[in-house]
Amino acid sequence: MGTLRFRPGVLLFMLPAVLLYGVFFLLPFARTVAASVYEWNGMDEAVFVGLGNYAELARDVLFRTGFARVGLWAAAAVLLKVGIALLLATALRERIPGSRFFEGAFFVPVVISSAAISLLFILLYDPDIGLVNAALRAIGLGDYARAWLADRNTALYAVIAVPIWHTIGYFFVILLAAQRDIPREFYEAARIDGAGARATFTHITVPSLWPVLTVCAVLAVTAALKSFDYVFVMTRGGPGTATEVPVTTMYKTIFVNLQIGYGAAMATTIFSVALVATLAIRRVTRFGRI
């Protein structure tokens, strides 16, 4: 905190932000939690149902499978986004000829909206003109060519791959900055001790980066839990319910089915799961630190 002593005038500097935050974040947040114990269609009188919505949610197969899908999504995100980004950042730790180009290129997709990226992938996955099928045919795997987003068996994986492609660059930049902060002496000492590339990676790079890797894991998991754009633009949750995730189910429950109370219970559950996941990752990774 600062050093100056309090004077009443300071409150005027705080007022606009506190007002904005109170009215447009805290109020809707409180109303979400409150609405979750009512049955309400947005027009008629709301009926108090206690924890009834939550009990119903626990039995709701669509919502539960949605969480299973998003769990897979989060696991893939941590392994692939953070994993690939870590390898790329390790490869570029020492500046080599062309490293500025690679650094710039890897980050490009990150500045583009997920809506535009989703549209791009609709074309890439297209059964007739898509690059994915063209690439498969080019390497003799043409039998695997298909309508990736319309095929029940592949739609979920096809969707999950998009945010991975989209944001590897983000984690790459974070991990590159962190790697370059590791003191050079660590690496020199390892070299003198005769450590190879692999030993250096597991004994110096990974332990030094552990706190940052934890942050990356939290970011990847929470991003998976909140991802709406990719699913909604590419598949709307289909074909059938093959790519339905909790956030899209909540959106449809509230805005299409007008079950406000039930949707609010979904929202509260999503928020709680995000919170628990964040705390759990921080807790679990604490052991890896030493």
């Binding site: 905190m1 549209l119 074309l123 297209d126």
Partner: protein
């Protein structure tokens, strides 16, 4: 040998990252029939028809300007609220400021998605739903916690002797804010502006929910609807994607270091 492997991996990933953009750029200048028959990174002849169609017959140019004005309004709202608050927290020591700070930090844990339905109802109650700029209040609110956090970090780095000296010299609070702290945190403010710009410009869900009128659609929302409208017209789809990607790509080329390091810092500190 390991050099070869190193460059092989890096080049493969660079190709995987850039190739789709080049492909869609090429298709934007081709007709759908040509796109269906062959795959190329170099159009047979550069045909601007897709872009002309996009400009003349779709609402995408309008959506682009909606995005420009809505983002500008949101950033103005964000700066007007976040900067003074960060000033109070960074330069003064009192209980309330600490509480407010912790309170704001909590919002980082709540996904904006889960609050949005009730924001919609609030907008309905306040009569803001049909308006074009009401959404600026939400964009500013969504960006407040991370912006305040980063601004406080930047403002704390300014030597404390400065404000004590300024107050002794007879400056009042607004002088201290406008003449001392604000100019010295210019760098931090620019970084926060860029990060908030990228986040707000790229938003889809909030605009989808809070801007139901077709004429108020932002670029992301209009693009997503374009999918349903020109699904079979591959050339048009490609042109729409290029239209959305190009401005951000230009901005990135100009501000490369700043965007990348800013986003990395924002993530780790947040």
């Amino acid at each position: 040998m390991s050099r070869v492997l190193l460059y092989g991996v890096l080049s493969a990933h660079a190709l995987l990252t850039l190739f789709p953009f080049l492909w869609v750029l090429s298709n934007a200048f081709r007709e759908s029939d040509a796109i269906l028959t062959s795959l190329t990174l170099w159009p047979e002849h550069f045909d601007g028809a897709n872009f002309l169609n996009l400009m003349r017959t779709t609402n995408i140019p309008r959506a682009f300007w909606n995005s420009v004005s809505i983002t500008a309004a949101s950033l103005a709202m964000l700066m007007a609220t976040a900067v003074p608050l960060a000033f109070a927290i960074a330069r003064f020591r009192f209980r309330l400021a600490e509480c407010v700070y912790v309170f704001f930090a909590l919002a980082v844990l709540v996904p904006a998605v889960s609050v949005l339905p009730m924001t919609f109802r609030l907008f309905n109650d306040l009569g803001l739903l049909g308006t074009k700029y009401g959404i600026a209040l939400i964009y500013a609110t969504e960006q407040l916690p991370i912006s305040v956090f980063l601004l406080v970090t930047f403002m704390r780095a300014i030597p404390h002797e400065l404000d004590e000296a300024a107050l002794i010299d007879g400056c009042d609070l607004s002088d201290l804010f406008l003449r001392v702290v604000l100019p010295l945190s210019r760098n931090g403010i620019v970084t926060v502006l860029i990060l908030a710009f990228v986040a707000i410009w790229n938003d889809y869900l909030t605009a989808l929910v809070l801007l139901p009128d077709q004429q108020n659609r932002t670029l992301s929302v209009a693009l997503a609807f374009a999918k349903d409208e020109y699904r079979v017209d591959y050339g048009m789809m490609s042109a729409a994607i290029v239209f959305a990607v190009a401005p951000m790509l230009l901005l990135y080329l100009v501000l490369k270091e700043r965007i990348a390091t800013g986003m990395a810092a924002g993530a780790v500190k947040g």
